[in-house]
């Protein structure tokens, strides 16, 4: 009952042509850690099993590249590949921290970063850091290719903004020189569990360490999508970086976050935790 029609193109060109022909009646498959569960449970976009567009026979979609200003990641790159990549370890350490606790070793061996992005879960581990980095998503169709900021690409829980004949062909993470990056997530257990609340920070201190020249804070599992704590970012950027400011920032981020109660946690706890987690990261920065 779970049998599906699966099309396995061997080139990107062919894959785009198939997507162009089938549009919404075909669903891209990379690692399958989420898609195959959805197929089994007949969840998500289908009441019935859809045709799958298997991208795994296109080796060219598997790459981690460093350019002058960006890190580029292909759609078939798995979490394990990212964990083992010296490029990611050097340039996006917060992402390493996030990925190391996704699912289980088996899931990390199969699941992909692009899959995590396209599933658009507000609790996805990788997304908080990608938002803090102002990551871009490359969308390609048979005759077009464009880069879309991640916060425009993801529009809601499980919802992405992509043309019906489009495929994501690259994730572009800007390098941030001199930034301190960190990621903390709370979850009900240490493996195979979903985020209760998460926070990613990318911070650039002034040379004399008295101020924040730049700070990006993103929160997971407190809104329908990952959100940036913009008010708190402004507060931190416009004042001297002191213990006192950290306490103010903790209060502000609690004010600013709008979580809900669901099966995994409750609103009051999630709200309070945004402050605790931000405080921990900021104190770590201050003490360095």
């Amino acid at each position: 009952m779970y049998s599906n029609e699966i099309l396995s193109p061997t080139s990107l060109k062919e894959a785009l042509a198939i997507k162009d022909q089938y549009v919404n009646d075909i669903f891209p498959l990379a690692g399958g850690t989420d898609v195959l569960v959805m197929v089994r449970n007949k969840l998500g976009v289908w009441g019935e099993s859809p045709v799958l567009l298997n991208l795994n026979n296109i080796p060219k979609l598997n790459f981690i590249l460093e350019t002058d200003s960006n890190i580029e990641i292909g759609p078939l790159v798995t979490h394990t590949q990212l964990l083992e990549s010296p490029i990611i370890q050097k340039h996006v350490p917060a992402l390493i921290k996030a990925i190391s606790i996704i699912g289980s070793p088996q899931i990390r061996n199969l699941g992909t970063l692009t899959g995590n992005v396209c599933r658009a879960s507000p609790a996805a581990d990788t997304l908080a850091t990608l938002y803090a980095r102002d990551t871009q998503v490359q969308i390609q169709t048979v005759n077009n290719s464009k880069l879309v900021p991640i916060k425009e690409f993801i529009t809601g829980p499980g919802q992405i903004n992509i043309p019906e004949n489009g495929l994501v062909t690259k994730i572009v993470i800007p390098k941030l020189e001199g930034y301190f990056g960190d990621y903390i997530s709370l979850r009900q257990r240490y493996a195979l569990s979903i985020v209760v609340v998460s926070i990613a920070v990318e911070a650039l201190l002034s040379k004399d360490r008295s101020r924040m020249d730049d700070i990006r804070i993103s929160l997971g599992a407190v809104a329908p999508t990952i959100v940036r704590a913009t008010k708190t970012e402004i507060l931190l950027k416009s004042n001297a970086f002191t213990k006192n400011l950290i306490e103010k920032a903790e209060k502000m981020i609690i004010e600013e976050s709008r979580p809900i109660t669901d099966i995994r946690s409750n609103k009051r706890y999630r709200k309070a935790m945004t402050g605790v987690l931000l405080g921990r990261i900021l104190r770590e920065i201050l003490s360095h």
Binding site: N41, Q188, R189, Y190, S193, S265, Y269, V276
Partner: protein, 784 residues
């Protein structure tokens, strides 16, 4: 009736007391062991169940488009198609196989569909439409008891009641300096066995029915299938397949699963497979009863335990199933393993519109042990006494009376477990004064968020079924000789992962003096093995073990007679030593035991001897609230060490010391397996696991991604400590071990949390949200 076999040290032992490899290790490790899912039959059909979407509703009409179904080759069955009685017998006979007029919980079976493929059976759902009228539902046991309008079970929804009465509690409270009173709540816990429920029914035309499946109690299933189909019991044959975990979840539920498959097979006269998905299993099958417990304890400043008053409201869900038996255990364990002259326990099993709850390792006792051991800790705290010292003042010793008036005259190893656990854990060194909330906050300001704590629980376990289940306390066994000199035994208790085959093989090997490798167990098939009673209540090793001892004794006499005749020696002058039969006086070796068995075979053929046993008598007078509740008691002390993050409320468990008095460890290795597995499941109960229901009474956490059990990453170091204070009624002095490893972990854990951060929980599991909220509440209370 019960004699201890002369058996002193491991030196004499041929099998018992040894760490022998499990009989089922190889097939389970290689994956060759055949589970229900692995079986297939020619022309097999699949079953889909149409279940109630409502918690409480009247069925107005069931419309089935038989024409279309027939054209698709699908057969539908309703309550009207049941040839026998529409009752799944457990205790009170209130549980129908298929709902006819009223549905009482979400997921209750109403119609079955049988087709050549699961896909087709699922597709056919759309040709059945059931019209319901919803009626008001109730989900909380306190609310459901004596509910003015909602009636689920008879007038007051109370399907069972047990009490304990001792002395005068009001007088006891009056004499107390401090009275501690709290209301506790415990969650529904899912068994989360690795193999979901499943049965395959194979009809022999109209004549008879064979059901294969994953189960604990094949003889329960035999009765249900026979009654549902209106068949003689001897025409119904139940064969247990390799069972991938049960924990009580496969005690009564296979009655339903097997009977649904059997009804399907009866209707289509073909083999019918019914294997539940994880979601269907979690949503519709039994779990640990959630409970509300009101607990009041009175102590004096000198540490006297003056009075204990407990009210237990066990939420049984929509049908009583095992509730009367589960409640009995809850009532008997409610006041703990302590001496207390004034006790009043009132326990009610109340039906509600949730899924029927049932047996789960500990069987009603973890629900009362959590509050009971919390109260003991709070009492000790209130008088400034170390909680282990306070317990030591009150625990039962040989010759003491339980709170329900039973004198325990032997095998009371609780004090030993307490001493050993305390010593090995370094209790007094690790136990730091409990901080005030102001101290916790002060430390937070200095950047110290994590605090360690250590907690304790001392518990007892009434072994086997006890007075409430004495009619099932019998046990049969066969032992049979094989032509090659090996031995085969048959019992009706089952292996579900706990190690029973191994342990019973060791007993048979020991009794006959034959090599463990030459002993085999017959697969459990109700047409070939005797009923040894259910595999529940930590009873298989003891009850089947004793029946096997009885059979082996007879076989040994037979062997000795044959040997005496052949070698012309006196049958009373021979003994077994190192698998050999020898003359006692001359120490001359005559032949191996295995060869002697060949001899018996040559003369007598494949002879099987039957053994039998019954548990020592128990009697409980519920009017008086006093009695001999159980034949024997096992004892345990748990010490749990935790580290709590006081800002975010997470609790990491660092160590568990679990000291168990089991009478005798037949196989210390499988015993440690039981202690480790049970401790971890207890840790799940106390720290992680909780079934979440929607306001409409549907299970929301219906898979292992939302219902979280501990993984290896959450597994602490578990220090198993075995204490052997033998019981004269058990084989080699053994009692039970199946359940108690789970029972006392939750309160030891919450007591450790209290020691770490100074907050008390009245509800488990101790999720970060709950611990954090308790800390916030304390901050507000103390205005720090």
């Amino acid at each position: 009736m019960f004699l201890v076999k002369e058996f002193s040290s491991e030196v004499d032992s041929m099998a018992v007391g040894k760490r022998l490899k499990r009989k089922d290790a190889d097939t389970k490790v290689t994956g060759e062991a055949p589970y229900a899912y692995d079986m297939s039959f020619a022309d097999e059909q699949y079953l889909a169940v149409i279940r109630s979407p409502y918690a409480h509703a009247r069925i107005v009409n069931i419309a089935i488009d038989y024409k279309i179904l027939e054209s698709l080759g699908v057969v539908a069955g309703t309550a009207k198609d049941i040839p026998g009685k529409n009752i799944l017998h457990v205790i009170l006979d209130d549980w129908p196989l298929l709902a006819e007029k009223v549905v009482r919980h979400v997921g209750e079976p109403v119609v079955i569909l049988v087709a050549a493929s699961l896909h087709l059976a699922e597709e056919a759902r759309k040709y059945v439409s059931i019209e319901y009228i919803e009626i008001p539902a109730v989900f909380d046991p306190v609310e459901a008891k004596d509910h003015p309008t909602i009636q689920i079970f008879e007038e007051n929804n109370v399907c069972s009641y047990w009490q304990q009465k001792n002395g005068d509690v009001e007088k006891g409270f009056a004499e107390s300096d401090i009275v501690i009173e709290n209301e506790y709540r415990t969650p529904a816990q899912e068994h989360a066995y690795i193999e979901t429920q499943g049965c395959i029914a194979v009809p022999q035309g109209h004549d008879s029915m064979t059901v294969y499946g994953s189960m604990q109690c094949p003889f329960y299933v035999q009765r249900c299938v026979a009654e549902i189909l209106g068949m003689e019991w001897s025409k119904v044959n139940i064969i247990q397949t390799t069972t991938g975990g049960a924990f009580g979840g496969k005690e009564d539920v296979p009655n339903q699963v097997g009977s649904l498959a059997a009804l399907g097979a009866w209707l289509v006269r073909k083999p019918v497979k019914f294997l539940l998905t994880r979601e269907e299993d979690i949503e519709t099958t039994s779990k640990r009863h959630p409970a509300v417990i009101r607990y009041k304890t009175g102590v004096t400043k000198q540490g006297e335990l003056k009075a204990i008053k407990v009210e237990v409201f066990l939420n049984t869900g929509a049908y009583a199933t095992l509730a009367p038996a589960v409640l009995y255990r809850a009532a008997m364990h409610a006041a703990g393993p302590y001496r207390c002259g004034n006790v009043d326990v009132q326990a009610y099993a109340v039906t509600t519109n949730l899924v029927p709850f049932g047996a789960f390792r500990g069987f009603g006792s973890p629900q009362v042990i959590f509050p009971g051991e919390e109260q003991m800790d709070r009492a000790a705290e209130s008088i400034g006494m170390d909680p282990s010292d306070f317990r030591e003042l009150h625990i039962l010793k040989v010759g003491d009376k339980t709170t329900f008036g039973q004198v325990i005259d032997q095998s009371v190893g609780l004090e030993q477990t307490l001493h050993k656990a305390r010593e090995q854990s370094g209790w007094y060194k690790k136990r730091k004064p409990t901080p005030t909330i102001a101290q916790v906050l002060e430390e937070q300001k200095k950047g110290k968020y994590r605090r360690k704590g250590i907690g304790i629980s001392t518990i007892f376990y009434g072994c086997f079924l006890g007075a409430a289940g004495k009619l099932m306390s019998r046990s049969g066994a066969y032992v049979q000789v094989e032509p090659d000199g090996s031995v085969r035994f048959a019992v009706g208790t089952t292996e579900m992962g706990q190690g029973m085959i191994t342990v019973l093989s060791q007993i048979v090997a020991e009794e006959l003096g034959i090599e463990y490798e030459k002993v085999y167990m017959t697969p459990v098939d109700t047409s070939r093995v005797p009923d040894s009673g259910p595999t529940v209540a930590s009873r298989a090793t003891i009850m089947s073990g004793r029946a096997l001892q009885d059979a082996c004794k007879q076989l040994r006499t037979l062997i000795y007679d044959k040997v005496a005749l052949k070698y012309e020696v006196d049958a009373t002058d021979i003994e077994i030593k190192e698998f050999q039969i020898q003359e006692i006086t001359t120490q001359k070796k005559l032949l191996s035991v295995s060869d002697a068995i060949k001899l018996v075979y040559q003369e007598r053929g494949q002879i099987a001897v039957a053994g039998w046993d019954v548990a020592p008598p128990t009697h409980y007078d519920n009017e008086k609230g006093q009695g001999d509740a159980y034949s024997a008691y096992a004892w345990c002390t748990n010490i749990v060490e935790v580290e709590v993050d006081s800002q975010i409320g997470t609790v990491d468990i660092l160590n568990i010391w679990a000291a168990h008095d089991v009478g005798k460890a037949i196989n210390p290795q499988t015993l440690e397996g039981q202690i480790e597995g049970g401790s971890l499941q207890g840790l799940g109960y106390g720290r992680y696991e909780e079934i979440i229901f929607t306001p409409e009474g549907r299970v929301l956490s219906n898979n292992l991604g939302t219902y979280l059990i501990p993984t290896t990453k959450e597994t602490p170091k578990i220090h198993s400590i075995i204490v052997e204070d033998p019981w004269s009624g058990g084989p080699y002095g053994a009692k039970g071990i199946g359940e108690q490893p789970l029972m006392g972990i939750a309160p030891a854990l919450t007591n450790a949390i209290a020691n770490a951060v100074g907050v008390r929980l009245n509800t488990i599991p101790a999720t970060p949200e709950r611990v954090w909220a308790a800390i916030q509440e304390k901050i507000e209370e103390e205005k720090v």
